[in-house]
């Protein structure tokens, strides 16, 4: 990760984000019930939840940082470590496995020079395995950021990756 980006994640949450979090907390039945939503907001802005931000959110929701971290680390979609500019979620569940999911994974790893769980040198992509995406009739399937792709083969994968160049 470049130094520029590291500075960026050490920025405080800022008044806008703090206000947004305070608002959802106020509307929740109980402040801590807003914690997943709050962490997702942070992640939307900073791509992952750093220790500094975690502590800030915890204070806003009247939780200890340890308590909030216990929740954050439990869930698959809350990233506590830096990720690339685009997150590839490649399904590794059973229907995709039957339909060549392992080949899709090998192809992506080769093209991006990463192993599952890693981020590319240029910080463009992070490749993560994910549980069944509910796109089994178009297996193998993956998401890139918020978009779902199915019927993956080598050519289609290359084509999708090109869109992010």
């Amino acid at each position: 990760m470049s130094t520029v980006e590291q500075d960026f994640v050490h920025e405080p949450l800022g008044p806008r984000l703090r206000h947004q979090i305070a608002t959802i907390a106020r509307h929740a039945e109980d402040k801590r019930a807003a914690c997943i939503d709050a962490l997702k907001l942070v992640q939307k802005r900073f791509r992952f939840v750093s220790d500094v931000h975690l502590a800030e959110v915890a204070a806003l929701l009247e939780m200890t940082p340890a308590e909030l971290d216990g929740v954050a680390t439990f869930y698959n979609l809350i990233f506590r470590r830096p990720v690339g500019r685009h997150v590839i979620l490649l399904c590794d569940s059973v229907a995709c496995w039957v339909m060549g999911g392992a080949a899709a994974c090998a192809h992506l790893c080769e093209r991006l020079s990463v192993k599952p769980g890693e981020t590319t040198e240029d910080g463009r992509f992070t490749l993560l395995p994910i549980v069944c995406l509910g796109h089994c009739d178009h297996a193998p399937a993956m998401m890139v950021d918020e978009d779902l792709y199915g019927d993956l083969d080598a050519a289609r994968l290359d084509d999708i990756l090109r869109r992010f160049r």
Binding site: D30, A34, L39, L77, S93, V94, A95, V98, C136
Partner: protein, 431 residues
């Protein structure tokens, strides 16, 4: 002509109808009718329809609603929760309904909430379902603007708020009591029962958790009556079901069919049978947590009792096909990897047992298995079976393993005797 109450209003282009479009095809009429009925009458109708939950366990929906305290009994705060977590590997039916017919779900939520007198409903959606979340949130706003959601709905005196929640992502969140923990902003750990959630669920208040497909069945039942609904079915339980097929079939997909449609009809007519060059070895009838069904039993009717009779379970009714080109041990390793990863870690047999099972399967697949490994696996199947763990994740994990050990015994033995995987060449293959 088969009637398809779940999918009838889905448009050919797949875009969801807006509230006006949904009303034009008869939408929200069932809600109007329900608001003029008593909660007891609604529950009675749902009971007569023999609607059973579509989330996997098949609990009678009417009976579940009836277990909530009556409207004049405290506590007066209750919750209806829609389980839209859909993370059971091989299942894709709820996503279709969420994305393509969100207003039918919302109408089902309003009727269900009125029946149990819940003033608050949560729709708990897995975080990866981005499009579904967007469309649901939009549909809720539209329904609010019409006065179907909010204070004093159509002058009935009944008020309802609907929240759409995006999950942080973990399979265990789909377990009804773990879902409460997730909504409360905690680690999603299941809870001990009793107390039953109908008495003490979310924030200790009476709560009902229903699957997406279950609630989408509700408006048509109220509108057209329990007898009509019963008549749609080929089984003792009412209605239709969204059956799905994935794997090497000619036409993978989803079809709404009479409840109790035979498995071979789904596989060979609707899904078109196997693609050229592939043979069907076995299927998982309803996701990763269901026992294999082998071809000699493909005449089974896909209803709760019939599938149970042959030693499996209906699960989500979304079928995964294993063909002869993939290694059955590899498939089991894939399933147990999923369960080991998704175990919440609360109880020891599951937390320690599932990774052990995964390691043994990995070793056998790699040709490093020993004869005694099969005994160890069999031991785990009973050690992690029903009643031994805190929730049903572990027994679900043992369903394919137990049946796999039976049906694929010779494949297990070949791996061990030959010290190699006979399918080694197809391991990383696209086809």
């Amino acid at each position: 002509m088969i009637e398809t109450p779940l999918t009838a209003t889905i448009q050919p282009d797949g875009k969801p109808l807006d509230v006006t479009g949904y009303e034009r095809v008869g939408g929200y009429q069932a809600m109007r009718k329900a608001l003029n009925m008593t909660p007891e009458a609604i529950i009675g109708e749902i009971k007569s329809s023999r609607l059973r939950g579509r989330g996997g366990a098949g609990f009678q929906t009417g009976r579940k609603w009836e277990a909530v305290p009556k409207r004049d009994e405290p506590p007066f705060l209750r919750y209806l929760i829609v389980n839209a977590d859909e993370m059971e590997p091989g299942s894709f039916k709820d996503r279709l309904l969420l994305e393509k017919t969100p207003h039918q779900l919302i109408e089902g939520v309003i009727i269900g909430a009125f029946a149990i007198q819940a003033a608050l409903a949560y729709i708990f959606v897995r975080g990866e379902y981005v499009l579904a979340l967007e469309r649901l949130a939009h549909a809720v706003v539209e329904a609010q603007a019409r006065g179907y959601v909010g204070r004093d709905i159509l002058g009935s005196g009944f008020s309802l708020t609907i929240h759409v929640h995006a999950s942080g992502g973990r399979y265990i969140c789909g377990e009804a009591s773990a879902l409460f923990s997730a909504l409360e902003g905690r680690r999603a750990i299941p809870r001990a029962r009793p107390p039953r959630s109908a008495v003490s669920g979310l924030w200790g208040k009476p709560s009902v958790v229903n699957n997406v497909e279950t609630l989408c069945c509700v408006p048509p039942i109220i509108e057209r009556g329990a007898n009509w609904y019963l008549g749609l079915s080929h089984s003792v339980d009412g209605g239709t079901k969204l059956y799905g097929v994935s794997g090497r079939v000619k036409r993978p997909g989803l079809w709404e069919l009479p409840f109790g449609t035979p498995l071979n009809e789904i596989l060979f007519e609707h899904a078109g049978g196997m693609r050229a060059g592939y043979e069907c070895r076995a299927v998982l009838p309803g996701g990763a947590s269901t026992a294999f069904i082998v071809p000699e039993n493909f005449d089974v009717r896909m209803d709760f009792a019939s599938v149970q009779k042959i030693g499996s379970s209906l699960g989500t009714g979304n079928i995964v096909v294993l063909d002869q080109r993939r290694c059955p041990i590899g498939l089991l390793r894939n399933l147990e990897h999923f369960f080991a990863q998704e175990s919440c870690g609360w109880c020891t047999p599951c937390r320690d047992g599932l990774p052990w099972v995964e390691r043994i399967l990995t070793a056998i697949e790699a040709g490093e298995g020993k004869a005694e490994d099969l005994e160890l696996l069999i031991h785990h199947v009973s050690f992690l079976g029903p009643g031994c763990t805190f929730c049903d994740l572990a027994p679900g994990a043992m369903a394919p393993l137990g049946s796999g050990l039976k049906h694929f015994r010779s494949e297990f033995e070949r791996h061990i005797n030959e010290k190699a995987c006979p399918w080694h060449d197809t391991k990383d293959a696209w086809t």
